[in-house]
Subunit: 445 residues, 4 copies
């Protein structure tokens, strides 16, 4: 865990993308390749067995690999070299068959896909968890009255459940995106030096199929070594996901301001404290998610900038992919994990929500009033309500009282009718039906 940003990390994904896990995935590729080639008859079974044994041993020195990788240009080259050295010592007849027909990009790309497969499974589970938590909030607060705000100003009444339903709707949609992404991303990369598996003669496709079977990875129509759209797509998924979470975090941070006070992140000792102010309970999950959302667009931009890779293997672009994509997926995972935990224990102050509805001297009901009076007065109502709003503001009187004094209304609207326009329960429109639709979609999920 890097000291400076522990909040941004989720240990589960840190492990998935750790140096150890990367090496293990590369060795899994080499050993599966040998097995596949033996099965197809391209290399001797004994060689495959020997290679498998050395891969299983996994005792490679990371520091030495890193040192040599800096010279070679990537870590697959020294790893394959060392694997071959091991075999030369123990089973020299098998040594030539290490990495047979493959190129270093095959190892690096396919091992990245293997790690992403695991990472996206964890991410999907956590998204599902967040969806459950949000569905609970939506259901519980479908009738909790609160203020809808537009352009950061009080606008009109709504329910907290409808806010939560909007959040849930985006998360549900993002799970659908993941369903579409996976079959595109989770495939083998195996092309050899320039993508035609030339070193395997006419057995290239057979080996590819066998290798795919070993690793449970479908074989794509053609190697994708120089076409990086699958990775860019995955980066977009993670960045958009972070944006979806950041919308929730932005709302929570606004609702949690001292002067609003409708929602707080859960409090436990030491959480969100200050080094100088004893009263502070800072919204650290929201801070984490918003920080992630400031970083994700730039990381995605880096992935896209790296797409136009030269010829049969790019110069530079690959290094971007291998480093940035795990970083971005981990950032999304971290934001997802920390937000889910905070949302699960959110402290919701319904009375404060109700009180805030009363904080604007009735102006929050102005749309309802306009609509209600237009039904009675026609177009004239609009100017009348605008004037009344301005007067309420200027004289710091309640909009209801200003209107009650308006002679133009006297004969048109009864006191009961006027009061009814200020009843938030009558201003909820289709909210509850929208909630039903969102919850029902999730249930089908």
């Amino acid at each position: 865990m890097r000291l400076i940003e522990p909040l941004a990390r989720w240990h589960v994904l840190d492990e998935v993308f750790s140096d150890g896990a990367r090496i293990a995935a590369m060795l899994a590729f080499e050993s599966a390749l040998a097995r596949a080639e033996a099965r197809v008859g391209v290399i001797p079974q004994a060689a495959a067995d020997a290679i498998g044994r050395q891969c299983a041993a996994r005792s490679f020195d990371h520091a030495a690999l890193a040192r040599d990788a800096a010279r070679a240009g990537n870590v697959a080259i020294p790893l394959v070299d060392r694997l071959r050295e091991r075999l030369t010592e123990t089973d020299s007849a098998a040594a030539p068959y290490v990495h047979w027909g493959a190129t270093s990009q095959d190892v690096l790309d396919t091992s990245l896909v293997l790690l992403l497969r695991t990472a996206l499974e964890r991410v999907d589970e956590e998204m599902q968890h967040l969806a459950e938590v949000l569905a609970g909030l939506t259901e519980r607060h479908r009738a909790t009255l609160t203020v809808g705000r537009t352009l950061m100003q009080q606008a009109a009444p709504t329910t907290f459940g409808l806010k939560a339903a909007g959040w849930l709707d985006a998360v549900t949609r993002h799970r659908e995106r993941l369903k579409e992404l996976r079959p595109r991303l989770i495939v083998l990369q195996f092309g050899g030096a320039v993508g035609n598996l030339a070193a395997l003669g006419d057995r290239g496709l057979d080996v590819a199929q066998a290798l795919g079977a070993e690793l449970r990875l479908p074989v794509p129509d053609i190697p994708w070594h120089a076409q990086r759209d699958r990775l860019a797509d995955t980066a977009a998924f993670a960045a958009i996901g972070t944006g979806i979470l950041a919308k929730i975090a932005r709302d929570l941070s606004l609702l949690g301001q001292t002067e609003v006070g409708e929602v707080s992140e859960p409090f436990t000792p030491g959480r969100g404290s200050s080094s100088t102010m004893p009263q502070k309970r800072n919204p650290v999950a929201a801070a984490t998610v918003l920080a992630a959302a400031s970083r994700a667009p730039g990381l995605l931009a880096a992935m896209l900038a790296a797409m136009p890779q030269e010829g049969e293997r790019g110069l530079g672009g690959l290094l971007v992919d291998w480093e940035t994509l795990p970083e971005l997926v981990a950032l999304y995972g971290g934001a997802l994990h920390h937000l889910t935990r905070a949302v699960a224990e959110l402290d919701i102050d319904a009375p404060r929500m109700r009180a805030n509805l009363e904080a604007s001297l009735g102006l929050v009901f102005a749309e309802a009033v306009r609509v209600g009076l237009t039904a009675k007065l026609g177009t004239a109502a609009v100017g009348l309500v605008v004037a009344a709003c301005n007067r309420a503001r200027a004289e710091k009187r309640h909009l209801h009282d200003v209107l009650a004094d308006d002679p133009a209304l006297k004969d048109q609207v009864t006191g009961d009718e006027l009061r009814a326009l200020f009843d938030p329960l009558r201003s909820l429109g289709t909210g509850s039906r929208f909630i039903d639709r969102v919850l029902s979609r999730r249930a089908k999920d």
Copy 2:
């Protein structure tokens, strides 16, 4: 057309997103809304008819709208105001029913969706056209020998058809992405002031359904005014698409260098000329596409940065969406259009490709030689070939001749066997089968 970057534009999309088309789409919304509300019985049919007549007139002064939009914060507000004024003059009873129950974001978002629907149809047709052109190239050049290059160095033989198949594969995959994107994006936005259609009482969903039917837009589970992932997704589609094209353009620009000379953009008088050098035939389509690819990641980043929008309607973020998304889609469309035209008439120099295969003193066959000799000599072959390559380079002799002189090979490899290792036709591996797979997928498309 902006003077400074005509190359980046495609007139078809410029028209789709023109100011006039935007206004027309907004008026289409207002008129469909009135029809829908009349059908459901929320407003009088006569009012809907009157509103429809004024919307059809379309005679609004753009400069005045722009001026007022600058004060109001968006263009929908003055447009609705003027529409209402018109009706006050012509059918005053209908005036109150203009824009009934809607908010300005409903107009702006839904009209943007309408424009995007058309734009993405045009884009899809152009992608299909590009795919056809690439399929033709792939088929025609499936046996055209050429150099595969990795890290911008000659690497091993391949075919030009396999290069084109890689490009085609990415374009085909991108059309699948569009198929998935469309049903998510092409939906109605209709939520009223804070997303619960409060002004329509219990008829909100009925109006929404009728409005969706009028505009041929499905009604989503819940309004998405504050959840911008659909737009971010569309931006990602356009940016990734631009990256896919830029990979092709990067390759074309490299293959078209004077010293490589394998491929040129089509030449017509005035195209790619220079103001000072009479001989120049600059690759202007590649330049356009690469310029677009430098800009697209940043535009996508802007869309993602705008995702965390505040409460029931964001502050600032909406302005980003409405401006940046059409810009990015138009950028992708422009790149697509200009590249398609250039690729359709590409000038391909097969003899030069073949000649370039001979430009490396046989080093481009080193992998084939290593594989071939390993079959004979085992691990020892690797060091032997590396040494021979170094010697060929140092002495500027052909790798074949260096090896022919190597005493270690004398008894192991015949002259014919050695010569065969330098035959590019024997180094094409699975290339042709990969081509078949890619063409067959496209055919099913």
Copy 3:
């Protein structure tokens, strides 16, 4: 003015970067070049006069130029062609001397520098205006008590003047940045085909000096056609400037929320209105600036992505520079202009600020209390104050009252001493001296 985003534009910069102004600047280059070459004796004076006359005429058809530019790859090529055609018709002896020794990039880059020179003058004046307005706010409100907020929670007392001083400090610093930037950016680009002015033989430098004198542009050590750091630097200046403004806008939007109500953007009819809610006065300047700040980082990223331009003139990168830099500078200028106008007429509610200081049941004084009690009680004070804060929150009692009841304090702190800790005037520390320093730096500016 583009219809969709009038708010983001400042007409002054729109004119500076208009198509007409671009053409005029290019013609200014061509005419100055001819004069310079005549003075140095490279071309006949009569030719220079004839060229000057045609440039002055300025009657070129923009649409035709745009059409031809799309073929040629940039607009300088058709412009020079047409200028030459004109001269062929009117002064055919002068025709060969049009654009003599220059290349199209010389025209495009130098004309861009000329436009940027004007634009940055306008921007500097507007920054100065903003600084004045902020200095006024700072001075007037140096003693206006208000709440300091950290992580969007009430933190401790401060003054509104100190907030404004922080904004001013950043603007003052940004003007210094501009002073440093200008001499680097505002220079001639003149290098000919590949940057060595080969066509001018041994007179290249003399012509460059004379041309620079004509255009009042210093001649750099070497042409910078392929080194784009000056433009990237300018983009960074504009993007950082936008970020500085967005910090102000973010603060204004937070301070202007209905529940906070401390500051509002000026109100005039039609400004910040809503199409459905009669009471709305939306903070449109803040929205504009925050939208600009969402877009600027991506535009800057595009400029940086275009830096690694190939060889003696890049492929694609130039198109990015010519389009994106004016867009980014105009975005900054627009944000600057609209924010300056709003800040100049800000509506400040000092009583509300004071009232908000009382909204936290005294928790906003917790740091002052901790410091004050530590002086009396040592380390023990920290735990005691934390406990009192928690109790105040739980029991909804004022922190002062909770502490007044604490037996541990009874003998240590008098009632007056305790009350004094809740006096915001005693919690302003160095604020006023920081204000003096900031105002004094600006005065020297």
Copy 4:
């Protein structure tokens, strides 16, 4: 060193920004603060001594700090807590004076500045080293004839020295940028809870001055906790620097292509090798730098996106600054270091450059021919040369020979005159004088 990207790192900067160095810098702040406060008389000298002793011990458990930081929201909070605990155990009277008057952002920001001060010194030395290497190249190759290329096509003759001078010019200019940046960036951040040093009463500025003296950091006019332009500026410096290097790397990668072969990165065993192709010598330094340049714009965008921080301390933005800025500076440093090493030992093939000048059938001399013939024939020369170029291309004949056969030239141009137009030595223009100017600027540096 992270396994996946050793090439992108420079161990010198990795150490500067290591977790250990960060903790040490934070402790240096706390201990300097105590000394400063004792000197000013705000805390007892004995307390300062005790705090200094515990800071010097430096024996904090990183893993535990990281764990607690994840709860608190930043690492300064648990570090200060633990420091206070230590003192409670050893010198309890001193414990309350730990971190007296400061807030966690003061520690984090100032310690970041301390690390950046060191990092930028290392960076400047390496930039100086690169400038020396480039100056050597420029001087040595001022007369080395080579091809100038525009839009990736052969354009006109130039010298390799002039190419190197362009690279050097940008590096020299970037060192000037650093000189301007440093006094702005390298300053103290010390503001307490909300930026007014309230906890220090009227001694805030005295303590700040003494603290600045201890850390050799000037005291800015006002704390900058919420104004992040200094950090954004530093990020822009690093990103622009990476772009400058990437221009060099792009050129090297193009010049090093097999078909161009003018320049190669130095070769040592294992460097730039391939896991499958024995002949490969990949340009790994160029790959590293280009990868950094794909990532830097996005990291810079993240820094800018984080600028609009809320109120007296932002939510989320700070986490971006503390993480991303070191990452970006380290990326620049890594690119700088690896490129400098490669350029220092570049393998330059002057005969190949000369040969490439001959590869275009004389078309590379077309501008010189056009200029030379215009002097003789006037405007008519242009069309004549274009036609000759087209014919040379179509008939694969040398441009000289085509022209020699042209009857229109027969009487106007002698054979010697025509041959002279194809002499590259006569097409170098002002190149050498530009070189002098660039070298002389650097010498003054």
